[in-house]
Symmetry: C2
Subunit: 245 residues, 2 copies
């Protein structure tokens, strides 16, 4: 089964591009720095980026000394941007779904994935596929929407007071895993909710050794600049995991 290819939906694509181009987006001030903080030494290493999107991270991995970077994505539109804006000798972009990486015969030293695995229904298969495609001692570093985010089925995330100050995060159905249909720019985005322990147990069950996790929040300085980011006091947006084969 293939994941949903929402990024080839023109309306979604346009909204998402505008979001990512905002230098103060959560992707730019929280997600990207945290992901790179978990990168092992990439000098001379081969890197695979699952769901590489615009290829920004691929360029980053190359700049950190990677010998070769392969970025794959299910969306042709995203790869078009990647090829136009983030091409370099040493980077190859392939239009392959994350669910089909068992078809790649090459092995890699490090597999990254940024904010993509929550679109994948069969996490167990993905983790085993990543384990198979890694050289011994290789690393898998990924971020995903936090389990406290993927749990929700409604857009009614926050309870606020009359002054629009957040009182609490409206957590629902955290222990019930599976498909979630949500609206994000467009209707009908399909994600998969997994609890913290399922994520951990799937990784250790496949033989990975857990090295580090992150649930980062913006700096106090940035929270003061962008009042909406005060939500991070109550709930992180992203979850990061670094495991080793």
């Amino acid at each position: 089964m293939s994941e949903q290819n929402i990024f080839d939906n023109q309306e979604f694509f346009d909204y998402y591009r505008a979001l990512r181009n905002n230098p103060m987006s959560a992707n730019n001030v929280v997600e990207k720095p945290a992901l790179f903080s978990l990168a092992p030494d990439l000098k001379g290493k081969t890197v695979l980026d699952l769901g590489c999107g615009y290829g920004e991270h691929c360029v980053g991995f190359l700049n950190l000394g990677a010998a070769k970077v392969v970025g794959i994505d299910i969306s042709e539109k995203m790869l078009e941007v990647a090829k136009n804006e983030n091409s370099a000798p040493g980077i190859e972009y392939l239009n392959i779904s994350m669910t089909d990486i068992s078809e790649i015969t090459e092995k890699f030293d490090v597999v990254f994935s940024s904010l993509a695995v929550h679109y994948i229904e069969d996490f167990d298969k993905l983790v085993k596929d990543v384990c198979n495609i890694l050289n011994d001692g290789g690393y898998f570093v990924f971020s995903q929407e936090h389990s406290l985010t993927t749990a929700l089925t409604t857009e009614d995330y926050w309870t606020k007071d009359a002054d629009d100050e957040i009182l609490h995060y409206n957590l629902t159905t955290y222990t019930q895993e599976g498909e979630r249909k949500v609206s994000w720019f467009v209707n009908g985005i399909v994600k998969y909710h997994r609890t913290f322990s399922t994520i951990i147990n799937t990784l250790t069950g496949a033989g990975f050794k857990l090295e580090q996790m992150l649930e980062p929040v913006p700096s106090e300085d940035i929270m003061n600049q962008i009042p909406n980011y005060k939500r991070y006091i109550h709930k992180p947006d992203f979850l990061f995991v670094k495991v080793r084969k």
Copy 2:
């Protein structure tokens, strides 16, 4: 620094004893089965139980074949019950705080702790002390109040509708770790909130290998018998971790 000895408070002690004696308490239908499901083979092993309370688990470890069980607790009142009701050749009860286990010179094969570590301020020290007291290849298996529970500073846990049905869990200040003063039977219970990632990183940072985690919920049958347990749909009460030295 020693943890709070709330269990020697007579009022709290009496309330807690009544709770634990209820066969349908969350301790009995969720916590205890989950903890024992994570037990490694105990045949011929030496076991240390941190915060052993009434000693019920110590008897359980002995019944699973443990050669020797040492239960420690900061509360003399709890140990009095343990000695009266759960004594057996092979079990020793000691009035020692979990914060002082570095004073114990003996080593153990397995360290258990049931619902106690969230009362400990310095988790990093505790984890290192446990690692030191374990034989190589030994296991540390513990449960604690779930991070989604320890996060809260108020008793206003749930938002309900007019029919008393739960709408959501009111999650607050999850990303802000540290002391929480809460009311539970009595006022001023002091607990320490740590995020999921801090718990994991502290364990892996001390050299432990993470084997399994659990966030259990009651069976559907029990949820139907006890409507209040439908809250587990939204949030687990307990978090379990099994790591190996």
